[in-house]
């Protein structure tokens, strides 16, 4: 449904987005991740037709956004960052106006507005001026506008910004219901949101797409070899053994007087370690590690495998690298 091919955007000498190629199909929710300035919002604006790409193409439901802009935009519901609205209008007037410019016939408009308001919890604020609404309510009005014509493609830029925890839960439920027959792309900083909502993850870093897969595949690619180990190491041999087998502490080894990473008691320590190289058989790597520790006289008391969090994946993927200028 969403097909981006070689999407590139230059601002003078700055390359905001570089050669972005991906697809989002019906029934999937993709999370667009990236640190500030990674190019997420620029990418979404290009997908929504607000910005034209310097190079590359966007196809929405098969329609090229440049060659057939009207047909392509009819397939699209787009919630921009900060949800800009006309403050002097009431929610009902605004939604009705937006329905009209999206081509909804006058006879259907009221029903569509009411349905969108019900879906997004805006029923109580339909006749209140938008200028008097809280940020969370305004976000919901923007969401109602995005969804009201039931477009097959939904682009959401930071949709949970300004929402309270209940509203965030409602949003997640709503997206969960919508994903059956929509293609949804969500740009967000909230990794927990991506883990709970998204089937796929697109990670951008300095304008480039550096990962595009399901969360499970990304975890598998990272090796998933993160362990919580409890051990007794009177001779301080563990750091050397870890280094020789391409393992490392998840954080810097703690100083003797801190408990940040390793909890020590009576010579027994607990630490989180991870494999630093990709490995097709992580089980074998774990076996080798345990054998080496035992051979060296380290008292291994327990080994637990820790599921890799999206945060860990993201911090590993988004390493600082090359310049983004031309």
């Amino acid at each position: 449904m969403i097909e981006a091919q070689g999407l590139t955007k230059h601002y003078g000498s700055l390359v905001a987005v570089r050669d972005l190629t991906f697809q989002v199909s019906k029934g999937s929710v993709s999370g667009l991740l990236g640190s500030n300035g990674a190019g997420k919002t620029t990418a979404l604006r290009m997908l929504a037709g607000v910005l034209g790409p310097t190079r590359g193409t966007v196809r929405l439901c098969g329609y090229d956004l440049i060659a057939s802009p009207m047909q392509a935009r009819r397939c699209l519901g787009y919630l921009p960052e900060t949800s800009p609205l006309y403050l002097e209008m009431t929610t009902r007037q605004y939604l009705s106006y937006r329905a009209e410019i999206k081509g909804v016939a006058h006879s259907c408009r009221q029903a569509i507005v009411s349905e969108a308001a019900r879906e997004t919890g805006c029923e109580d604020i339909l006749d209140i001026s938008i200028g008097r609404l809280s940020r969370g309510h305004r976000q919901r009005v923007g969401l109602a506008d995005t969804l009201q014509t039931n477009p097959p493609i939904i682009l959401l830029d930071e949709p949970s910004a300004g929402l309270d925890p209940n509203q965030v839960r409602n949003l997640r439920e709503l997206v969960g219901r919508l994903k059956e027959d929509h293609a949804i792309l969500i740009s967000t900083h909230v990794l927990a949101e991506v883990e709970s909502l998204c089937t796929d993850v697109l990670v951008m870093h300095k304008g480039r797409l550096i990962a595009n897969d399901s969360i499970e595949v990304l975890r598998a690619r990272q090796g998933g070899a993160e362990l919580r180990v409890t051990f007794r190491d009177p001779d301080q041999r563990v750091p050397a053994i870890l280094a020789s087998l391409n393992w490392q502490f998840c954080h810097e080894p703690p100083a003797a007087d801190t408990k940040a990473d390793t909890a020590s008691s009576n010579g027994v320590a607990e630490a989180r370690i991870r494999l630093t190289r990709s490995c097709s058989d992580t089980g074998q790597a774990i076996e080798q590690l345990i054998a080496a520790l035992v051979t060296a006289g380290v008292g291994v008391r327990s080994v637990d495998r820790v599921a890799t969090t999206l945060e860990a994946l993201f911090s590993t993927l988004a390493q600082p690298d090359e310049d983004t200028t031309l």
């Binding site: 604006r45 607000v50 009819r74 787009y78 937006r98 009209e100 410019i101 999206k102």
Partner: protein, 248 residues
């Protein structure tokens, strides 16, 4: 044109929902009343009235009333049109909607023009009042309003363009006022230059000359062509510039 009516209604409502249009209406009615009373008093005191210029010709074509309203109404009615959309970010909603940019530009222009026309509506009372004491040539009244609205449409279109190119509404207001003052200056300069061609050029663009002609019932093709250009060119350029925002 999809989106034109929706844009027109939203802009029109936006202008009248704010106090701005009502303040302008009040100020204009007071100004028109003051100018009308002064003109009528002046004519009443004249012992040798001109055959060509009656109170209505003076009111519509020779007083400072119309240029003053252009200077204040047109920039104020148009300054928000695009500058505010960009500032608030609502332009993103418009550019991602399935409507064309010409519909957006024309919708905003039509709303400003309709508001301009409504602001002038109370002045229709003055010929009706004068009708009680003298015969009124309704043809000249009609051409006067045509001239006022024609030039007004031109300056509103310029105002829309200034709002498109300006970064903020205040800058748009200053730009539109500056362009109007340039036209006013060129119109006045025709009396100061001796060169035939330059003088003719100044006369072509002189808003005072057009208002004076049309208040006497004269409609010339060159004036109509000038007004049409004054409307079409800025609106066309506005459409192109808004379209270029996608590529900036």
């Amino acid at each position: 044109m999809i989106g034109f009516c929706a844009t027109f209604r939203r802009e029109f409502a936006s202008l009248w929902l704010s106090p701005l249009a009502w303040i302008l209406l009040f100020a204009l009615v007071v100004l028109q009343g003051a100018v009308f009373v002064s003109i009528v008093a002046n004519f009443a005191a004249t012992t040798e009235p001109s055959l060509n210029v009656g109170p209505l010709q003076a009111f519509y074509g020779q007083s400072v009333l119309v240029p003053l309203t252009y200077m204040f109404l047109c920039p104020v009615l148009t300054m928000r049109s695009f500058a505010e959309e960009r500032r608030s970010g609502t332009i993103e909603n418009l550019l991602s909607a399935p409507i064309g940019i010409p519909a957006i530009v024309l919708g905003k222009f039509a709303a400003a023009l309709a508001t301009f026309a409504i602001l002038w509506l109370p002045s229709v009372a003055y010929p009706l009042i004068l009708r009680q004491v003298v015969d009124i040539d309704w043809h000249t009244v009609a051409t006067s309003y045509l001239g006022i609205c024609g030039l007004g449409a031109g300056f509103l279109a310029i105002g829309i363009f200034c709002s498109v190119v300006a970064r903020g509404q205040f800058i748009a207001l200053v730009l539109t006022t500056s362009v109007f003052l340039l036209f006013l200056f060129l119109g006045t300069a025709q009396y100061a230059v001796d060169d035939g061609r330059l003088r003719l050029l100044c006369d072509q663009v002189a808003i005072q000359s057009q208002l004076a002609e049309m208040s006497q019932g004269i409609i010339s093709l060159r004036r109509v062509a000038f007004d049409a250009t004054l409307v079409a060119l800025p609106l066309f350029l506005s459409t192109r510039v808004v379209g270029s925002w996608r590529w900036s």
